[in-house]
Symmetry: C2
Subunit: 275 residues, 2 copies
Amino acid sequence: MNAYGERLAAVVAQRGRLCVGVDPHLSILQQWGLPLDASGLERCAMTLVEAVADQVAVLKPQSAFFEVFGSAGIAVLEKVLGAIREAGALSLLDVKRGDIGSTMAAYAQAYLGEGPLAADAITISPYLGFGSLQPAIDLAVANGRGVYVLVRTSNPEGHEVQTARHHDLTVAQQVLEAGAAINRDHARIEDGVPGPVGAVVGLTHQALDIDLSRFAGSLLVPGLGAQGGTPEHVATLFGDQTPLTLPSTSRDIAEAGPDPAAIRRRTAEVAAALR
Amino acid sequence: MNAYGERLAAVVAQRGRLCVGVDPHLSILQQWGLPLDASGLERCAMTLVEAVADQVAVLKPQSAFFEVFGSAGIAVLEKVLGAIREAGALSLLDVKRGDIGSTMAAYAQAYLGEGPLAADAITISPYLGFGSLQPAIDLAVANGRGVYVLVRTSNPEGHEVQTARHHDLTVAQQVLEAGAAINRDHARIEDGVPGPVGAVVGLTHQALDIDLSRFAGSLLVPGLGAQGGTPEHVATLFGDQTPLTLPSTSRDIAEAGPDPAAIRRRTAEVAAALR
Protein backbone atom coordinates (compact mmCIF):
# COMPACT_ATOMS: atom_id res chain seq x y z
CA MET A 1 0.00 0.00 0.00
CA ASN A 2 1.19 3.54 -0.72
CA ALA A 3 2.38 5.65 2.19
CA TYR A 4 -0.36 7.30 4.23
CA GLY A 5 0.85 10.77 3.28
CA GLU A 6 0.58 9.95 -0.43
CA ARG A 7 -2.90 8.54 -0.02
CA LEU A 8 -4.05 11.48 2.07
CA ALA A 9 -2.66 14.05 -0.36
CA ALA A 10 -4.36 12.28 -3.28
CA VAL A 11 -7.83 12.09 -1.73
CA VAL A 12 -7.65 15.66 -0.38
CA ALA A 13 -6.67 16.90 -3.86
CA GLN A 14 -9.85 15.26 -5.21
CA ARG A 15 -12.31 15.97 -2.40
CA GLY A 16 -11.01 18.84 -0.30
CA ARG A 17 -9.72 18.70 3.24
CA LEU A 18 -12.86 18.53 5.38
CA CYS A 19 -12.89 15.69 7.91
CA VAL A 20 -16.36 14.63 9.01
CA GLY A 21 -16.65 13.11 12.47
CA VAL A 22 -18.95 10.10 12.83
CA ASP A 23 -20.13 10.69 16.40
CA PRO A 24 -23.36 8.75 16.92
CA HIS A 25 -23.99 10.25 20.35
CA LEU A 26 -27.13 9.16 22.15
CA SER A 27 -28.54 12.67 21.81
CA ILE A 28 -28.28 12.38 18.01
CA LEU A 29 -29.99 8.97 18.06
CA GLN A 30 -32.77 10.57 20.11
CA GLN A 31 -33.00 13.56 17.80
CA TRP A 32 -33.30 11.24 14.80
CA GLY A 33 -36.02 9.17 16.52
CA LEU A 34 -33.87 6.02 16.65
CA PRO A 35 -33.86 3.36 19.36
CA LEU A 36 -31.10 3.86 21.95
CA ASP A 37 -29.45 0.53 21.21
CA ALA A 38 -26.99 -1.00 18.76
CA SER A 39 -29.60 -1.02 15.99
CA GLY A 40 -30.14 2.73 16.41
CA LEU A 41 -26.39 3.21 16.53
CA GLU A 42 -26.02 1.33 13.25
CA ARG A 43 -28.78 3.31 11.53
CA CYS A 44 -27.29 6.61 12.66
CA ALA A 45 -23.65 5.84 11.87
CA MET A 46 -24.31 4.14 8.55
CA THR A 47 -26.65 6.92 7.43
CA LEU A 48 -23.90 9.46 8.07
CA VAL A 49 -21.25 7.37 6.32
CA GLU A 50 -23.41 6.49 3.31
CA ALA A 51 -24.43 10.12 2.94
CA VAL A 52 -20.95 11.67 2.84
CA ALA A 53 -18.24 9.01 2.33
CA ASP A 54 -18.08 9.60 -1.43
CA GLN A 55 -17.96 13.35 -0.87
CA VAL A 56 -15.23 14.05 1.72
CA ALA A 57 -11.61 12.96 2.08
CA VAL A 58 -11.61 11.71 5.64
CA LEU A 59 -14.22 10.33 8.03
CA LYS A 60 -13.45 10.16 11.72
CA PRO A 61 -15.55 7.69 13.73
CA GLN A 62 -15.36 8.30 17.48
CA SER A 63 -14.82 4.91 19.12
CA ALA A 64 -16.39 5.87 22.48
CA PHE A 65 -19.87 6.08 21.00
CA PHE A 66 -19.55 2.52 19.69
CA GLU A 67 -17.91 1.14 22.85
CA VAL A 68 -20.98 2.23 24.83
CA PHE A 69 -22.83 -0.72 23.32
CA GLY A 70 -20.07 -3.27 23.94
CA SER A 71 -19.37 -5.94 21.34
CA ALA A 72 -22.59 -5.09 19.46
CA GLY A 73 -21.39 -1.51 19.11
CA ILE A 74 -17.94 -2.64 17.98
CA ALA A 75 -19.57 -4.83 15.31
CA VAL A 76 -21.22 -1.64 14.00
CA LEU A 77 -17.83 0.11 14.03
CA GLU A 78 -16.44 -2.71 11.85
CA LYS A 79 -19.21 -2.08 9.32
CA VAL A 80 -18.61 1.66 9.43
CA LEU A 81 -14.90 1.24 8.73
CA GLY A 82 -15.66 -1.10 5.83
CA ALA A 83 -18.19 1.31 4.32
CA ILE A 84 -15.74 4.22 4.53
CA ARG A 85 -13.11 2.15 2.71
CA GLU A 86 -15.53 1.08 -0.03
CA ALA A 87 -16.53 4.69 -0.69
CA GLY A 88 -12.91 5.70 -1.26
CA ALA A 89 -12.55 7.95 1.79
CA LEU A 90 -9.89 7.50 4.45
CA SER A 91 -10.92 6.40 7.93
CA LEU A 92 -9.33 8.19 10.85
CA LEU A 93 -10.50 6.26 13.88
CA ASP A 94 -10.54 8.41 17.00
CA VAL A 95 -9.48 6.01 19.78
CA LYS A 96 -6.77 8.01 21.60
CA ARG A 97 -4.98 4.82 22.66
CA GLY A 98 -1.71 4.99 24.51
CA ASP A 99 0.15 2.27 26.37
CA ILE A 100 3.57 0.64 26.51
CA GLY A 101 5.41 -2.33 25.09
CA SER A 102 3.41 -5.36 24.03
CA THR A 103 0.15 -3.63 24.96
CA MET A 104 0.84 -0.70 22.63
CA ALA A 105 1.83 -3.24 19.98
CA ALA A 106 -1.55 -4.95 20.45
CA TYR A 107 -3.41 -1.66 19.98
CA ALA A 108 -1.37 -1.06 16.84
CA GLN A 109 -2.21 -4.51 15.55
CA ALA A 110 -5.90 -3.96 16.34
CA TYR A 111 -6.22 -0.70 14.42
CA LEU A 112 -3.26 -0.48 12.01
CA GLY A 113 -3.01 -4.18 11.15
CA GLU A 114 -5.32 -6.25 8.98
CA GLY A 115 -8.03 -7.13 11.54
CA PRO A 116 -11.73 -6.22 11.53
CA LEU A 117 -11.05 -2.77 13.04
CA ALA A 118 -8.31 -1.77 10.60
CA ALA A 119 -8.40 1.98 9.90
CA ASP A 120 -6.29 4.20 7.68
CA ALA A 121 -5.19 6.22 10.70
CA ILE A 122 -5.87 6.46 14.42
CA THR A 123 -5.44 9.02 17.16
CA ILE A 124 -2.95 8.14 19.92
CA SER A 125 -2.15 9.69 23.30
CA PRO A 126 1.41 10.39 24.53
CA TYR A 127 0.98 10.58 28.34
CA LEU A 128 3.41 7.65 28.64
CA GLY A 129 6.00 9.47 26.52
CA PHE A 130 6.28 9.74 22.76
CA GLY A 131 8.68 6.80 22.69
CA SER A 132 5.99 4.49 24.08
CA LEU A 133 4.03 5.05 20.85
CA GLN A 134 6.79 3.60 18.65
CA PRO A 135 5.04 0.24 18.02
CA ALA A 136 2.09 2.12 16.48
CA ILE A 137 4.36 4.35 14.40
CA ASP A 138 6.37 1.38 13.15
CA LEU A 139 3.28 -0.55 12.11
CA ALA A 140 1.75 2.56 10.53
CA VAL A 141 4.83 3.11 8.39
CA ALA A 142 5.05 -0.56 7.44
CA ASN A 143 1.38 -0.72 6.45
CA GLY A 144 0.86 2.64 4.75
CA ARG A 145 -1.16 4.02 7.63
CA GLY A 146 -1.01 7.13 9.80
CA VAL A 147 -1.19 8.16 13.44
CA TYR A 148 -2.37 11.47 14.91
CA VAL A 149 -0.74 12.17 18.23
CA LEU A 150 -2.56 14.38 20.74
CA VAL A 151 -0.53 17.57 20.97
CA ARG A 152 -2.51 20.67 21.93
CA THR A 153 -6.18 19.98 22.49
CA SER A 154 -9.13 22.32 22.38
CA ASN A 155 -10.39 21.90 25.95
CA PRO A 156 -9.58 24.44 28.68
CA GLU A 157 -7.85 21.89 30.97
CA GLY A 158 -5.44 20.68 28.31
CA HIS A 159 -2.75 23.23 29.11
CA GLU A 160 -2.05 21.72 32.55
CA VAL A 161 -0.20 18.85 30.90
CA GLN A 162 0.45 20.13 27.39
CA THR A 163 2.20 23.38 28.30
CA ALA A 164 4.16 21.89 31.21
CA ARG A 165 7.89 22.15 30.53
CA HIS A 166 10.55 19.48 30.32
CA HIS A 167 13.96 21.10 29.93
CA ASP A 168 13.31 24.00 27.55
CA LEU A 169 10.29 22.64 25.72
CA THR A 170 6.62 22.34 26.49
CA VAL A 171 5.23 18.82 26.42
CA ALA A 172 3.27 19.72 23.28
CA GLN A 173 6.34 21.05 21.48
CA GLN A 174 8.41 18.05 22.55
CA VAL A 175 5.81 15.71 21.03
CA LEU A 176 5.89 17.75 17.81
CA GLU A 177 9.69 17.60 17.63
CA ALA A 178 9.65 13.84 18.11
CA GLY A 179 7.03 13.49 15.38
CA ALA A 180 9.02 15.80 13.09
CA ALA A 181 12.09 13.57 13.46
CA ILE A 182 10.07 10.68 12.03
CA ASN A 183 8.24 12.69 9.37
CA ARG A 184 11.57 14.02 8.04
CA ASP A 185 12.34 10.58 6.55
CA HIS A 186 8.94 10.22 4.85
CA ALA A 187 7.41 13.57 3.95
CA ARG A 188 7.83 15.30 0.57
CA ILE A 189 6.75 18.76 1.58
CA GLU A 190 7.46 20.29 -1.84
CA ASP A 191 4.81 17.93 -3.29
CA GLY A 192 2.36 18.46 -0.42
CA VAL A 193 2.93 14.98 0.98
CA PRO A 194 3.05 14.81 4.80
CA GLY A 195 4.76 12.17 6.90
CA PRO A 196 2.97 9.38 8.77
CA VAL A 197 2.84 11.16 12.13
CA GLY A 198 0.05 13.71 12.38
CA ALA A 199 -0.88 15.94 15.29
CA VAL A 200 -4.19 16.80 16.95
CA VAL A 201 -4.41 20.55 17.52
CA GLY A 202 -7.66 22.15 18.64
CA LEU A 203 -9.24 25.09 16.89
CA THR A 204 -10.40 26.89 20.01
CA HIS A 205 -7.10 28.59 20.86
CA GLN A 206 -6.88 32.30 20.11
CA ALA A 207 -3.27 31.84 19.06
CA LEU A 208 -0.98 28.86 18.72
CA ASP A 209 1.55 28.30 21.52
CA ILE A 210 3.35 25.66 19.47
CA ASP A 211 5.73 25.90 16.51
CA LEU A 212 4.56 23.76 13.62
CA SER A 213 7.11 25.02 11.09
CA ARG A 214 9.25 21.86 11.04
CA PHE A 215 6.56 19.28 11.76
CA ALA A 216 5.95 17.97 8.22
CA GLY A 217 2.89 15.99 9.29
CA SER A 218 -0.79 16.55 8.70
CA LEU A 219 -2.92 18.20 11.37
CA LEU A 220 -6.26 16.99 12.64
CA VAL A 221 -8.09 20.09 13.83
CA PRO A 222 -11.30 19.37 15.73
CA GLY A 223 -13.58 22.17 16.75
CA LEU A 224 -15.07 23.42 13.50
CA GLY A 225 -18.75 24.26 13.86
CA ALA A 226 -20.49 23.29 17.09
CA GLN A 227 -17.41 23.97 19.23
CA GLY A 228 -17.24 27.48 17.80
CA GLY A 229 -14.41 27.25 15.27
CA THR A 230 -14.77 29.00 11.91
CA PRO A 231 -13.05 28.49 8.55
CA GLU A 232 -11.52 31.95 8.98
CA HIS A 233 -9.97 30.91 12.28
CA VAL A 234 -8.50 27.81 10.62
CA ALA A 235 -6.73 30.11 8.17
CA THR A 236 -5.62 32.50 10.93
CA LEU A 237 -4.17 29.76 13.12
CA PHE A 238 -2.60 27.48 10.56
CA GLY A 239 -2.06 29.53 7.41
CA ASP A 240 0.08 27.61 4.96
CA GLN A 241 2.58 26.32 7.44
CA THR A 242 1.70 22.64 7.23
CA PRO A 243 1.21 20.55 4.13
CA LEU A 244 -2.23 19.34 5.18
CA THR A 245 -4.59 20.66 7.80
CA LEU A 246 -7.80 18.68 8.26
CA PRO A 247 -10.49 20.69 10.04
CA SER A 248 -13.04 18.35 11.57
CA THR A 249 -16.71 18.79 12.33
CA SER A 250 -19.36 16.35 13.43
CA ARG A 251 -22.32 17.66 15.38
CA ASP A 252 -23.28 20.25 12.76
CA ILE A 253 -23.39 17.55 10.10
CA ALA A 254 -25.31 15.03 12.22
CA GLU A 255 -27.87 17.62 13.27
CA ALA A 256 -28.76 18.16 9.61
CA GLY A 257 -29.97 14.50 9.53
CA PRO A 258 -31.51 12.05 9.40
CA ASP A 259 -32.34 12.96 5.77
CA PRO A 260 -29.27 11.94 3.72
CA ALA A 261 -29.83 14.73 1.21
CA ALA A 262 -29.81 17.31 4.01
CA ILE A 263 -26.65 15.76 5.46
CA ARG A 264 -24.93 15.97 2.08
CA ARG A 265 -26.05 19.55 1.58
CA ARG A 266 -24.76 20.65 4.98
CA THR A 267 -21.47 18.85 4.37
CA ALA A 268 -21.04 20.55 1.01
CA GLU A 269 -21.69 23.96 2.59
CA VAL A 270 -19.09 23.41 5.32
CA ALA A 271 -16.57 22.07 2.80
CA ALA A 272 -17.12 25.04 0.48
CA ALA A 273 -16.54 27.51 3.31
CA LEU A 274 -13.15 25.87 3.93
CA ARG A 275 -11.75 26.49 0.48
CA MET B 1 -23.89 -0.11 45.57
CA ASN B 2 -21.32 0.62 48.27
CA ALA B 3 -18.52 3.03 47.49
CA TYR B 4 -15.62 1.55 45.53
CA GLY B 5 -13.21 2.19 48.40
CA GLU B 6 -15.41 0.20 50.81
CA ARG B 7 -15.73 -2.68 48.39
CA LEU B 8 -12.03 -2.72 47.64
CA ALA B 9 -11.06 -2.63 51.32
CA ALA B 10 -13.46 -5.49 52.07
CA VAL B 11 -12.24 -7.84 49.34
CA VAL B 12 -8.57 -7.04 50.04
CA ALA B 13 -9.12 -7.81 53.73
CA GLN B 14 -10.43 -11.24 52.73
CA ARG B 15 -8.12 -12.12 49.86
CA GLY B 16 -5.00 -10.00 50.08
CA ARG B 17 -3.93 -7.22 47.77
CA LEU B 18 -2.52 -8.99 44.72
CA CYS B 19 -3.99 -7.84 41.40
CA VAL B 20 -3.72 -10.41 38.61
CA GLY B 21 -3.55 -9.06 35.09
CA VAL B 22 -5.57 -10.90 32.46
CA ASP B 23 -3.31 -10.31 29.45
CA PRO B 24 -4.11 -12.90 26.79
CA HIS B 25 -1.25 -11.85 24.55
CA LEU B 26 -0.78 -13.80 21.33
CA SER B 27 2.49 -15.21 22.66
CA ILE B 28 0.60 -16.76 25.60
CA LEU B 29 -2.03 -18.25 23.27
CA GLN B 30 0.84 -19.74 21.26
CA GLN B 31 2.58 -21.03 24.38
CA TRP B 32 -0.66 -22.68 25.51
CA GLY B 33 -1.17 -24.30 22.09
CA LEU B 34 -4.37 -22.34 21.39
CA PRO B 35 -5.62 -21.06 18.03
CA LEU B 36 -4.69 -17.41 17.39
CA ASP B 37 -8.30 -16.27 17.10
CA ALA B 38 -11.19 -15.24 19.32
CA SER B 39 -11.80 -18.85 20.39
CA GLY B 40 -8.19 -19.13 21.59
CA LEU B 41 -8.53 -15.73 23.27
CA GLU B 42 -11.62 -16.95 25.11
CA ARG B 43 -10.00 -20.19 26.24
CA CYS B 44 -6.92 -18.36 27.51
CA ALA B 45 -8.72 -15.51 29.27
CA MET B 46 -11.47 -17.64 30.81
CA THR B 47 -8.96 -20.24 32.02
CA LEU B 48 -7.04 -17.49 33.83
CA VAL B 49 -10.19 -15.97 35.32
CA GLU B 50 -11.75 -19.27 36.37
CA ALA B 51 -8.47 -20.35 37.95
CA VAL B 52 -7.89 -17.32 40.18
CA ALA B 53 -11.03 -15.17 40.45
CA ASP B 54 -12.11 -16.77 43.74
CA GLN B 55 -8.59 -16.40 45.10
CA VAL B 56 -7.48 -12.79 44.52
CA ALA B 57 -9.07 -9.42 45.23
CA VAL B 58 -8.71 -7.75 41.85
CA LEU B 59 -8.37 -8.96 38.26
CA LYS B 60 -7.17 -6.56 35.61
CA PRO B 61 -8.07 -7.48 32.03
CA GLN B 62 -6.02 -5.57 29.45
CA SER B 63 -8.45 -4.31 26.80
CA ALA B 64 -5.88 -4.13 23.98
CA PHE B 65 -5.55 -7.92 23.79
CA PHE B 66 -9.31 -8.22 23.30
CA GLU B 67 -9.60 -5.30 20.86
CA VAL B 68 -7.14 -7.11 18.55
CA PHE B 69 -9.97 -9.44 17.58
CA GLY B 70 -12.57 -6.72 17.04
CA SER B 71 -16.16 -7.29 18.14
CA ALA B 72 -15.50 -11.01 18.67
CA GLY B 73 -12.72 -10.13 21.12
CA ILE B 74 -14.93 -7.59 22.88
CA ALA B 75 -17.61 -10.27 23.29
CA VAL B 76 -14.98 -12.35 25.12
CA LEU B 77 -14.17 -9.35 27.31
CA GLU B 78 -17.84 -9.11 28.26
CA LYS B 79 -17.74 -12.75 29.42
CA VAL B 80 -14.51 -12.18 31.32
CA LEU B 81 -15.98 -9.22 33.21
CA GLY B 82 -19.09 -11.25 34.06
CA ALA B 83 -17.03 -14.19 35.34
CA ILE B 84 -14.90 -11.92 37.53
CA ARG B 85 -18.05 -10.43 39.06
CA GLU B 86 -19.61 -13.85 39.71
CA ALA B 87 -16.48 -15.05 41.50
CA GLY B 88 -16.59 -12.11 43.92
CA ALA B 89 -13.43 -10.38 42.73
CA LEU B 90 -13.30 -6.78 41.52
CA SER B 91 -12.61 -6.07 37.86
CA LEU B 92 -10.16 -3.30 37.07
CA LEU B 93 -10.36 -2.93 33.31
CA ASP B 94 -7.17 -1.52 31.85
CA VAL B 95 -8.38 0.72 29.01
CA LYS B 96 -6.43 3.97 29.63
CA ARG B 97 -9.21 6.04 28.05
CA GLY B 98 -9.00 9.79 28.05
CA ASP B 99 -11.05 12.32 26.08
CA ILE B 100 -13.17 15.42 26.61
CA GLY B 101 -16.79 16.38 27.08
CA SER B 102 -19.47 14.12 25.70
CA THR B 103 -16.84 11.67 24.42
CA MET B 104 -15.36 11.19 27.89
CA ALA B 105 -18.91 10.82 29.20
CA ALA B 106 -19.51 8.06 26.64
CA TYR B 107 -16.38 6.20 27.77
CA ALA B 108 -17.61 6.54 31.36
CA GLN B 109 -21.00 5.18 30.42
CA ALA B 110 -19.38 2.29 28.52
CA TYR B 111 -17.23 1.11 31.42
CA LEU B 112 -18.65 2.60 34.62
CA GLY B 113 -22.35 2.42 33.69
CA GLU B 114 -24.57 -0.64 33.46
CA GLY B 115 -23.72 -1.84 29.93
CA PRO B 116 -22.11 -5.12 28.83
CA LEU B 117 -18.57 -3.81 29.54
CA ALA B 118 -19.30 -2.52 33.05
CA ALA B 119 -16.25 -2.93 35.30
CA ASP B 120 -15.65 -2.08 38.95
CA ALA B 121 -12.87 0.28 37.97
CA ILE B 122 -10.96 1.42 34.89
CA THR B 123 -7.66 3.07 34.12
CA ILE B 124 -7.83 6.57 32.57
CA SER B 125 -5.24 8.85 30.98
CA PRO B 126 -4.88 12.57 31.81
CA TYR B 127 -3.06 13.97 28.75
CA LEU B 128 -6.05 16.26 28.15
CA GLY B 129 -5.87 17.56 31.72
CA PHE B 130 -7.24 16.06 34.91
CA GLY B 131 -10.39 18.16 34.58
CA SER B 132 -11.28 16.42 31.31
CA LEU B 133 -11.71 13.19 33.29
CA GLN B 134 -14.50 14.60 35.48
CA PRO B 135 -17.35 12.76 33.68
CA ALA B 136 -15.68 9.44 34.55
CA ILE B 137 -15.06 10.47 38.15
CA ASP B 138 -18.64 11.67 38.57
CA LEU B 139 -20.12 8.45 37.22
CA ALA B 140 -17.68 6.34 39.25
CA VAL B 141 -18.74 8.10 42.47
CA ALA B 142 -22.44 7.84 41.60
CA ASN B 143 -22.19 4.13 40.79
CA GLY B 144 -19.79 2.87 43.47
CA ARG B 145 -16.95 2.43 41.01
CA GLY B 146 -13.34 3.56 40.82
CA VAL B 147 -10.88 5.11 38.37
CA TYR B 148 -7.10 4.74 38.29
CA VAL B 149 -5.44 7.73 36.68
CA LEU B 150 -2.06 7.28 34.99
CA VAL B 151 0.42 9.19 37.15
CA ARG B 152 3.98 7.88 37.01
CA THR B 153 4.40 4.89 34.75
CA SER B 154 7.07 2.23 34.72
CA ASN B 155 8.44 2.78 31.21
CA PRO B 156 11.65 4.75 30.57
CA GLU B 157 9.95 7.36 28.31
CA GLY B 158 7.26 8.26 30.85
CA HIS B 159 9.26 11.01 32.50
CA GLU B 160 9.20 13.24 29.38
CA VAL B 161 5.59 14.10 30.10
CA GLN B 162 5.12 13.04 33.71
CA THR B 163 7.99 15.02 35.24
CA ALA B 164 7.47 18.10 33.08
CA ARG B 165 6.61 21.07 35.27
CA HIS B 166 3.57 23.32 35.28
CA HIS B 167 4.11 26.17 37.74
CA ASP B 168 5.82 24.49 40.69
CA LEU B 169 4.53 20.97 40.24
CA THR B 170 5.37 18.08 37.99
CA VAL B 171 2.53 16.83 35.84
CA ALA B 172 2.45 13.63 37.91
CA GLN B 173 2.21 15.52 41.20
CA GLN B 174 -0.43 17.85 39.81
CA VAL B 175 -2.58 14.84 38.85
CA LEU B 176 -2.12 13.40 42.35
CA GLU B 177 -3.15 16.68 43.99
CA ALA B 178 -6.28 16.88 41.85
CA GLY B 179 -7.15 13.29 42.75
CA ALA B 180 -6.48 13.98 46.43
CA ALA B 181 -8.96 16.86 46.36
CA ILE B 182 -11.67 14.42 45.31
CA ASN B 183 -10.60 11.56 47.57
CA ARG B 184 -10.70 13.87 50.60
CA ASP B 185 -14.51 13.86 50.49
CA HIS B 186 -14.80 10.08 50.25
CA ALA B 187 -11.88 8.28 51.88
CA ARG B 188 -11.85 7.09 55.50
CA ILE B 189 -8.13 6.58 55.87
CA GLU B 190 -8.33 5.61 59.56
CA ASP B 191 -10.45 2.60 58.50
CA GLY B 192 -8.27 1.79 55.50
CA VAL B 193 -10.89 2.94 53.02
CA PRO B 194 -9.49 4.82 50.00
CA GLY B 195 -11.34 7.32 47.82
CA PRO B 196 -12.64 6.60 44.31
CA VAL B 197 -9.64 8.05 42.47
CA GLY B 198 -6.67 5.70 42.33
CA ALA B 199 -3.30 6.22 40.70
CA VAL B 200 -1.14 4.07 38.43
CA VAL B 201 2.46 4.15 39.65
CA GLY B 202 5.04 1.79 38.17
CA LEU B 203 7.27 -0.44 40.25
CA THR B 204 10.41 -0.02 38.19
CA HIS B 205 11.56 3.29 39.66
CA GLN B 206 14.46 3.13 42.08
CA ALA B 207 12.87 5.84 44.18
CA LEU B 208 9.59 7.73 43.98
CA ASP B 209 9.70 11.27 42.59
CA ILE B 210 6.12 11.92 43.70
CA ASP B 211 4.60 12.65 47.10
CA LEU B 212 1.75 10.26 47.89
CA SER B 213 1.27 11.34 51.49
CA ARG B 214 -2.01 13.19 50.96
CA PHE B 215 -3.41 11.16 48.07
CA ALA B 216 -5.89 8.97 49.98
CA GLY B 217 -6.54 6.77 46.96
CA SER B 218 -5.50 3.23 46.17
CA LEU B 219 -2.48 2.60 43.96
CA LEU B 220 -2.30 0.23 41.04
CA VAL B 221 1.33 -0.84 40.81
CA PRO B 222 2.16 -2.79 37.65
CA GLY B 223 5.57 -4.34 37.22
CA LEU B 224 5.64 -7.18 39.75
CA GLY B 225 7.34 -10.26 38.32
CA ALA B 226 8.20 -10.30 34.62
CA GLN B 227 9.03 -6.57 34.53
CA GLY B 228 11.52 -7.11 37.37
CA GLY B 229 9.62 -5.77 40.40
CA THR B 230 9.87 -7.65 43.69
CA PRO B 231 7.66 -7.69 46.80
CA GLU B 232 10.56 -6.15 48.71
CA HIS B 233 10.68 -3.24 46.28
CA VAL B 234 6.93 -2.70 46.74
CA ALA B 235 7.58 -2.28 50.47
CA THR B 236 10.59 -0.03 49.87
CA LEU B 237 8.76 2.28 47.47
CA PHE B 238 5.34 2.50 49.06
CA GLY B 239 5.74 1.53 52.73
CA ASP B 240 2.55 2.25 54.62
CA GLN B 241 1.88 5.61 53.10
CA THR B 242 -1.26 4.75 51.19
CA PRO B 243 -4.29 2.86 52.44
CA LEU B 244 -4.19 0.32 49.64
CA THR B 245 -1.42 -0.55 47.23
CA LEU B 246 -2.30 -3.18 44.62
CA PRO B 247 0.80 -4.73 43.04
CA SER B 248 -0.09 -6.27 39.73
CA THR B 249 1.43 -9.17 37.83
CA SER B 250 0.30 -10.98 34.72
CA ARG B 251 2.90 -12.72 32.58
CA ASP B 252 4.31 -14.79 35.45
CA ILE B 253 0.84 -16.11 36.21
CA ALA B 254 -0.10 -16.83 32.59
CA GLU B 255 3.19 -18.60 31.93
CA ALA B 256 2.35 -21.11 34.68
CA GLY B 257 -0.65 -22.22 32.54
CA PRO B 258 -2.57 -23.62 30.87
CA ASP B 259 -3.07 -26.05 33.79
CA PRO B 260 -5.49 -24.27 36.18
CA ALA B 261 -3.94 -25.95 39.23
CA ALA B 262 -0.51 -24.64 38.24
CA ILE B 263 -1.95 -21.15 37.68
CA ARG B 264 -3.55 -21.22 41.14
CA ARG B 265 -0.32 -22.44 42.74
CA ARG B 266 1.78 -19.71 41.12
CA THR B 267 -0.79 -17.07 42.11
CA ALA B 268 -0.77 -18.28 45.72
CA GLU B 269 3.04 -18.11 45.80
CA VAL B 270 3.12 -14.54 44.47
CA ALA B 271 0.36 -13.48 46.87
CA ALA B 272 2.13 -15.05 49.83
CA ALA B 273 5.37 -13.22 49.02
CA LEU B 274 3.46 -9.92 49.17
CA ARG B 275 2.24 -10.26 52.73
